[in-house]
């Protein structure tokens, strides 16, 4: 064949993580601190419901929007945990992971030339999804001195006549940053003033360690302009089940459902049945995992303090994002040498956007024993680098 492939797709850079993945995969005995998924198994009672659904022969498509019972449980859950009110019949769409919801949500909203504001460092798929939807991504480089929160000024500076959507990725992957209510209120004012939409990716909403997560959709005047993204992967350790959801005003969900219907049909049926159980009886599991993550988070913060490694204290997700600028290397150089010399894999911060340069992402979705070994090696590495420095 000589005819060219899609130019738009060809121009999209492959994920910066890919390159590093290949490097780590070749190294057999490396310890990885590079994963973005929980180390816990899906709680047994949830798996058991999945098995039971299969046994009963629940192997057909569900309705496009997802099982009614599941949407009702999602609605109950959001009300119980985040003070949100979504109508299960009209305002909730069950998707294949939060990732599908991001893609479909952007596609449902964007017209050519629209601008999508993406604060970075953040999850790797916002920018390509926005481009594929035909939008022009506008990047905000978040700052370490603001603990990687989005500030009102940063937002104001990039808003134009063409601004359509702000993507709000908190609690944040890769920085672990959270937005507090007062921060959100400032952002909400600007959003409303300029009449733009918000896509709030709250997949880590259950994993906060100081205050309870606040959804921007719960602020006055925001529900009508927010697409809320959430899912089961992080809260219930259900990454492989591929199940998430979007909540938005009826007119948006209607358009999103169209795309979902033609592209996907429906989210996996087995996963949907398991998810009902997760929402009904999973609160304690979430609490237990949150407690464990928090202990590991404290362990890492303490270890960094002892090492004198510069890191702001993150209160969300399961990542810490230490600064490695003192060593005079790029994030990639640091991560590559750390891997080669100490056999520990961390993810270079620039994989999540240019403003991640000078940082590395360390995941604490690992057992304490694992973390202890890895941090011991980090200490060796850091000490060696400091000794070598003139």
């Amino acid at each position: 064949m000589t005819k060219p492939l899609s130019k738009m797709v060809e121009e999209i850079k492959p994920s910066g993580i890919r390159k590093f993945f290949d490097l780590v995969s070749e190294m057999k005995d490396a310890i990885s601190l590079g994963v973005g998924e929980p180390d816990f198994d899906t709680p047994w009672h949830i798996r058991d419901e999945g098995i039971f659904a299969l046994e009963k022969g629940k192997t057909f498509y569900t309705s496009n929007a997802g099982l009614k019972e599941l949407r009702e449980e999602i609605s109950n859950y959001l009300n119980r945990r985040l003070e949100l009110n979504y109508n299960p019949n009209k305002e909730i769409l069950v998707t294949v992971g939060g990732s599908e919801a991001i893609d479909v949500g952007l596609r449902a909203l964007i017209n050519p030339e629209d601008e999508v504001i993406i604060p970075q460092p953040s999850y790797v798929s916002y920018e390509p999804c926005a481009i594929l939807a035909g939008a022009k991504p506008v990047i905000i480089n978040l700052k370490a001195e603001n603990e990687f929160r989005l500030t009102a000024d940063e937002l104001k500076n990039v808003i134009t006549d063409k601004t359509k959507i702000l993507i709000l990725p908190y609690p944040n992957n890769p920085t672990g940053a959270v937005m507090e209510r007062s921060n959100l209120e400032e952002i909400a004012n600007i959003i409303i003033e300029n009449d733009i939409y918000v896509m709030s990716d709250e997949i880590y909403a259950e994993l906060t360690y100081k205050d309870k997560h606040v959804s921007i959709a719960s602020l006055e005047g925001m529900k009508e302009r927010t697409i809320l993204i959430n899912g089961f992967s992080k809260a219930y350790a259900m990454t492989g089940w591929r199940l998430g959801y979007a909540c938005a005003p009826e007119n948006i969900i209607k358009q999103m459902t169209k795309i979902h219907q033609f592209a996907i049909m429906c989210a996996p049926t087995t996963s949907q049945y398991a998810a009902i159980e997760a929402l009904k009886k999973g609160d304690d599991d979430v609490k237990e995992m949150r407690t464990a993550y928090n202990q590991r988070r404290r362990f890492l913060m303490n270890a960094f303090k002892e090492m004198g490694l510069d890191c702001f204290e993150p209160f969300g997700a399961f990542y810490v994002f230490p600064c490695i600028k003192e060593f005079g290397m790029t994030s990639e150089e640091f991560a590559t040498r750390f891997l080669e010399e100490e056999k520990v894999a961390v993810v270079p911060g620039n994989a999540f956007g240019n403003s991640g340069e000078g940082f590395v992402r360390i995941s604490y979705a690992y057992s304490l024993d694992n973390l202890k070994t890895a941090i011991g090696r980090l200490k060796n590495f850091v000490n060696r680098l400091r000794e070598l420095k003139p």
Partner: protein, 160 residues
């Protein structure tokens, strides 16, 4: 802090004060005080080690014995339970709802020793009506810990 502390030391009684302090974000002195209180209040009753005896050369036989008894006036089941738990070879005694009253765990070196304990000591107690002895063939999981199971991390080494 109390519940989180208990959960941690239930899983690992050898954990140091320093580590507890880091994990809980609480000062070492405060943890030491809390532990002392928990011991005093009889909430922490001991610090044991979970051993998979099957992997050693030491022979051990464990039996679960269901015991039906007549409760005694004024003392209910407590008196008879005490009579039973005073034997050092008795590892645990629980009062149980349902078809029988007491569940006794017994650990001995041989089957014969268990048989003689049941027939000579247990059955002859005045208020014991009947017993049913079950021998444990294999322990898969004990105190929340699965024996002989080390699973590899099957996750992709790096993911966004």
């Amino acid at each position: 802090m109390r519940n989180e502390l208990l959960t941690l030391i239930e899983k690992n009684s050898r954990i140091s004060l320093t580590e507890l302090s880091v994990l809980l974000g609480v000062k070492e002195v405060e943890i030491a005080e809390e532990l002392a209180k928990l011991e005093q209040e009889g909430i922490i009753c001991g610090y044991h080690t979970l051993i998979n005896w099957d992997k050693t050369s030491i022979e051990k036989v464990t039996a679960l014995i269901e015991v039906k008894v007549t409760p005694q006036r004024g003392q209910g089941f407590d008196r008879i339970a005490e009579r039973i738990y005073n034997y050092p070879e008795v590892k645990s005694v629980y009062l149980i709802s349902g078809g029988y009253d007491l569940l006794v765990t017994l650990e001995e070196k041989t089957l014969k020793e268990i048989a003689s304990f049941v027939s000579d000591k247990l059955s002859t107690l005045e208020s014991v009506l009947s017993t049913a002895t079950h021998f444990i063939l294999k322990k898969y999981k004990d105190h929340g810990t699965v024996f002989d199971k080390k699973r590899d991390d099957e996750r992709e080494v790096i993911s966004p």
